[in-house]
């Protein structure tokens, strides 16, 4: 295995590697996706003062830094004893977070996955890319840019900068939203809503029109996990962790967030830099779970904004109100979430708590804190211990892509099994399909490096003895 060392503060990106092993009859015995990950980071922050962490951890990711910012800030709220934030602080953070959800989902949908949906994922990669979208559907390409920009401006207005801002501080927020800023957003909100509805329709129509073909594509039954509000509503910013099985039975619900490690464990495997989280009570064999848009729509009882709730009902009807386990349905779920985010943003903008001046609270100081949030790619856990000198002594993060690690491996395996039946060869269609299946999960490795529609993937085909028969590279 090629060893790639990631400096502690670089973005999480890089090459994925897929290895497929065959038996003597050329049947797939094992297939794996290897992703480079940022193990060094948790060490890097040891000794740093705790209030620095929400700003520092944003360096983890160039695409969703806000998620790390807020998850760390939530953990630090626990440290400083801020058990209930002021309405202004909580709503400013929510506005930041839903703005980020909008920008991240818009980027993924319009620039990374829309080529697969608009041209069909078996189309020639030469046209199946963002340039192809710009040529064939220029209006959509522009909408993607504008939606993303709107989300980024929300981040700037709440965090101070479009990337790597400082808005959330332990116990609250460092600014409110001025009337002028608010009015600037309100004047465009109807247009943003309209475009989000349009994107949702594309994703929905694609899924329903192609259901025969995609129902089994890279699909498999799994558990699903995400945070939901106390009453079961979808909530990206705060709530209790809920896990359900493939049929929708609850495995656990709203256990203590501060004790997540009592019900979620992480397995280290020798062949991957990434950890494999699993639900303790089920065990590592079958306890893995999916996170992200598909899981969130599956685990919530309802969505508390009308248009997204109507869309959720349509979505759930496809699988008779049972959890949807179709990998390609991630795209549809993601667009339901994008519309929901815009609905939430609109209602927040109309809430004058955002103009309040009560920004920070504190209480009894603690030495340990956990912050859990729904990042665009799924549930994100930040866990810290702090000594009496205010320094970090322990950090553990479970990022969304880590939780989706096993599911992505499963998806790759499904595709490999279907494509390599007796023919020991890595073909173009195989590589395409692996890429499309992985992309449904919007993993971090795809985030910064494949703007032209090609994920930087390496493929290795191994025989029964582990000898490499073929290698291919896509980049």
């Amino acid at each position: 295995m090629k060893k790639i060392v990631i400096e502690p503060v670089t973005r999480v990106e890089g090459h994925g590697k897929v290895t497929i092993q065959l038996d003597d009859n050329n049947k797939v015995t094992q297939s794996r996706l290897h992703i480079v990950e940022f193990r060094g980071f948790e060490r890097f922050i040891l000794g740093r003062p705790y209030w620095e962490v929400p700003v520092l951890v944003q360096r983890l990711c160039g695409i969703c830094p806000v998620s790390h910012h807020l998850a760390a800030a939530k953990a630090m709220d626990v440290i400083v004893g801020a058990d209930k934030l002021t309405p202004t602080a909580e709503k400013m953070r929510r506005l930041m977070h839903y703005g980020q959800m909008l920008q991240s989902h818009a980027l993924h949908f319009f620039h990374l996955c829309s080529p697969d949906l608009l041209f069909g994922f078996d189309a020639d990669p030469a046209i199946r890319n963002v340039i192809g979208v710009i040529e064939k559907h220029p209006d959509l390409a522009v909408q993607g840019v504008m939606l993303r920009k709107y989300g980024q401006e929300l981040i700037k207005a709440t965090a101070g900068k479009k990337i790597h801002g400082t808005g959330a501080i332990p116990g609250g927020i460092n600014k409110n939203l001025s009337i002028e800023e608010r009015d600037n957003f309100l004047k465009d909100i109807e247009q943003i809503l309209e475009w989000s509805r349009g994107a949702l329709k594309i994703a929905k129509d694609y899924t329903i029109d192609n259901l025969d073909k995609i129902a089994s594509f890279g699909s498999f039954d799994s558990n699903h996990l995400g945070i939901v509000r106390k009453d079961g509503a979808m909530d990206f910013y705060d709530g209790g962790v809920r896990a359900i099985d493939k049929d929708g039975n609850k495995i656990f619900d709203h256990l203590d967030n501060q004790k997540y490690h009592h019900y979620i464990a992480e397995e280290v495997k020798s062949w991957s830099y990434m950890k494999f989280p699993f639900i303790r009570e089920i065990g590592h064999e079958n306890g893995w779970y999916r996170v992200g848009p598909l899981a969130r729509v599956n685990v919530c009882d309802y969505i508390d904004t009308p248009e997204a709730e109507a869309a959720r009902k349509e979505f759930m009807a496809v699988t008779d109100n049972k959890p949807n386990n179709i990998t390609m349905a991630y795209h549809w779920a993601r667009m339901i979430e994008m519309l929901h985010s815009v609905e939430v943003i609109k209602s927040l903008l109309n809430d004058d708590d955002l103009q309040g001046n009560d920004l920070v609270v504190s209480g009894e100081r603690r030495n340990e804190g956990v912050g859990i949030i729904e990042a665009p790619r799924g549930t994100l856990f930040h866990h810290y211990q702090v000594n009496d000198n205010d320094q970090i002594t322990m950090a553990n993060l479970i990022v969304s892509t880590t939780s989706n690690n096993e599911p992505m491996n499963q998806a790759v395996k499904k595709v490999a099994e279907e494509r390599i039946s007796g023919k020991p060869e890595i073909t173009e269609p195989l590589m395409n399909e692996v890429e499309v299946a992985i992309r449904a999960y919007d993993p971090c490795l795809s985030c910064a490096t494949h703007a032209l529609g090609k994920m930087p993937l390496k493929f290795e085909l191994l025989d029964n003895d582990g000898h490499i028969i073929q290698t291919e590279s896509r980049n």
Binding site: R48, P49, W51, E52, R59, G160, H164, N389, D390
Partner: protein, 236 residues
């Protein structure tokens, strides 16, 4: 006593006997970049960011007294280049991660780099191993960011009357130590001491107040360092 007349960049300046070039320039609303100097503390002359050419020779403006008829070069490319190089060296000698440092936006080193147009350093980063002293309940030292300006040493001694800090070792190993057996918490420093306030970078900081000022409202977000001196001239 009669005024002393001299030139900075071909502009006639009148100063008082005993003034340094920097003091006379300040009074005239001309900004000379600086780092170790701090109003109210004895000039130290150690950082050399204030380098000017006096009759063609490099001098530290913060310590060099004015004299009748001298010509001071405060803006030639050569002078600017020396200052830029010094700032660059300060960056590579320490571990300055502006992107997450709580002093960002309020940091004089960063503001100088912006004002002087320092881009990616041409010198290699040294990534020194430096330590943190977080033992005090309200103050912490992050030596990764210390530029050895000595402001805290002088302020503690001359203004706070406490002598909390001192320089130890030499050359690349030189560092600010605390005047106690081990840790900052063992000294008599207090969070209200002048020594804590004068640090130009994020090396000596008050605890738990980082990032409280939003981006856009920090000291150098909207105006470059030195503009307070230049504006003084315009309003008078």
């Amino acid at each position: 006593m009669a005024d002393i007349t001299f030139k900075i960049d071909n502009v006639d300046i009148k100063g008082k006997p005993g003034q340094t070039i920097m003091e006379a320039a300040d009074a005239a609303g001309i900004y000379i970049p600086r780092l170790c100097t701090y109003e109210g503390l004895q000039p130290h002359g150690s950082c050399r960011v204030c380098t000017v050419f006096v009759n063609g020779r490099a001098q530290a403006a913060c310590t060099q007294p004015i004299a009748e008829g001298i010509t001071v070069d405060n803006s030639s490319e050569e002078v600017q280049q020396i200052r830029k190089d010094i700032i660059e060296m300060l960056f590579v000698e320490g571990n300055h991660y502006c992107m997450f440092c709580e002093k960002s936006g309020n940091c004089e080193l960063q503001a100088l780099a912006y004002r002087l147009g320092v881009l990616a350093p041409k010198y290699p980063y040294l990534f020194p191993k430096r330590d943190i002293d977080a033992s005090h309940k309200d103050i912490f030292i992050d030596r990764n960011r210390c530029v050895l300006c000595g402001r805290c040493v002088r302020a503690s001694q001359d203004i706070d009357g406490k002598n909390v800090f001192e320089f130890v070792d030499r050359g690349p190993d030189k560092r600010v130590a605390v005047n106690s057996e081990a840790k900052l918490s063992d000294t008599e420093i207090d969070v209200t001491d002048k020594a804590v306030e004068v640090c130009p970078v994020g090396a000596l900081l008050k605890k738990r107040v980082g990032y409280a000022v939003p981006i856009g409202e920090r000291l150098y977000d909207n105006k470059p360092i030195g503009s307070e001196i230049e504006n003084k001239n315009q309003s008078s």
